[in-house]
């Protein structure tokens, strides 16, 4: 039988059959190298068994608890920063897409011209808007005012609650990092 196999058996006899153990014992009688290895390994095992278990230093779990609070705070901060980053990047992408599509359709000269026109005409346009708004608002009956106010208030409430829920959800995710 080859030496390699005996070397393997020699260092782990836990799964050897009685026949294999006898074969190994016979091999050890004739092979000083394996005998030395076996003796050394026996000694190492004995040293491992007597090696002391190293316990955690005092206050380990208290330090963990303290660090847990700090790590969670950092995790919240990272999660909020991530959320704001995603929001910012999304807005930037939308703005860039709109800008690109507008620039693709008009020349830069026309663009600059229209911006100047908007600035110059702004006071006159605002005045016109004020007249139009005043004209139509005067035509709204008082009951419709109440209805419109209610719709706006309800919409604002829904908006606020959705915002608060989203924040809470992100906050919770940051807390658990999941």
């Amino acid at each position: 039988m080859n030496h390699q196999l005996f070397e393997t058996w020699n260092l782990d006899r836990t799964q050897l059959s009685p026949e294999q153990q006898t074969e190994l014992a016979r091999h050890l009688e004739t092979c000083p190298e394996c005998r030395h290895t076996a003796a050394a390994w026996e000694c190492v095992q004995a040293e491992i068994k007597t090696a002391p278990r190293v316990n955690a230093p005092a206050g380990f779990s208290a330090r963990f608890q303290h660090s847990l609070a700090e790590r969670r705070r950092l995790a919240h901060y990272r999660q909020t920063r991530k959320m704001l980053g995603i929001l910012g990047i999304s807005l930037l992408v939308i703005f860039l897409l709109l800008a690109a599509s507008t620039l693709a359709r008009t020349s830069p000269a026309a663009w600059i011209g229209s911006i100047i026109r908007i600035i110059v005409d702004a006071p006159f346009n605002l005045l016109e808007l004020r007249f139009i708004a005043a004209f139509w608002l005067a035509k709204i009956p008082p009951l419709a005012w109440i209805g419109a106010s209610s719709v706006i208030a309800a919409w604002m409430l829904v908006f606020t609650l959705t915002g608060a829920w989203t924040y809470k959800r992100f906050h919770h995710q940051g807390e658990l990092l999941r």
Binding site: V44, Q45, T50, F60, Q65, L68
Partner: protein, 211 residues
């Protein structure tokens, strides 16, 4: 592992012995920080010991143990309660320590370095020669020679009494890979021990192993 877990002597662990571990795990999975802290108290010694054996330095071992518990805290919801918690936790710890050693390129001593370290010191220091300390240092040095994964395998096998299957699960290796790593580590340990005994007074004893 089982024997080591039974050796838990932390007084806080005794106080909490009435609380079933499963109950603690359910609470921890539902986000209870207190329940997780109790688990930390129960498992701090085995986790710390593994880090210490892997990294060889108390400060680094504590940092690694703290980080391992933090990782376990982050992943506790994904923990499958059909598996033993200790195996899961020590698996996280072993992986973290292996990564740390790879990142920091911590000393995995070469055989030549080992030989230099075990060469007898010329300056007489009788206290240094005390048996227990010598043995402790020898084990320490022998572990340092192994590569991180072999080291983790041998520590889990002989300090925690993990079976080969448990080691394969913990280190995400095949059983044959675990067997070959353990064999390599045993062989290296035996040869280092022989080298050490040849270099120290008394030399190696040619003793036949007891069957």
């Amino acid at each position: 592992m089982k024997a080591y877990m039974k050796q838990e002597t932390n007084p806080n662990a005794e106080r909490m012995v009435s609380i079933d571990e499963n109950e603690l795990l359910v609470l921890a999975q539902n986000g209870s920080e207190e329940a997780f802290t109790q688990l930390v108290e129960r498992y701090q010694n085995p986790v710390y010991n593994l880090c210490y054996r892997m990294l060889g330095e108390p400060t680094e071992a504590e940092d690694a143990a703290q980080e391992s518990f933090w990782r376990a805290y982050q992943a506790i919801r994904r923990y499958d309660r059909s598996r033993p918690f200790a195996t899961w936790l020590l698996s996280i710890t072993a992986h973290y320590c292996i990564d740390q050693q790879r990142k920091r390129r911590l000393p995995t001593l070469e055989i030549e370095d080992w030989m230099e370290e075990v060469l007898p010191d010329n300056t007489p220091d009788p206290e240094k020669m005390t048996g227990a300390r010598e043995e402790k240092e020898r084990i320490h040095r022998m572990l340092a020679v192994l590569n991180p994964q072999d080291r983790a395998a041998i520590i889990l096998r002989y300090w925690y009494e993990f079976s080969e299957e448990e080691i394969s699960q913990a280190l995400q290796l095949s059983i044959s890979a675990v067997k070959s790593r353990l064999h390599r580590a045993r062989l290296k340990f035996a040869s280092l021990y022989q080298a050490d005994r040849k270099l120290t007074p008394g030399g190696i004893h040619d003793e036949s192993p007891a069957f």
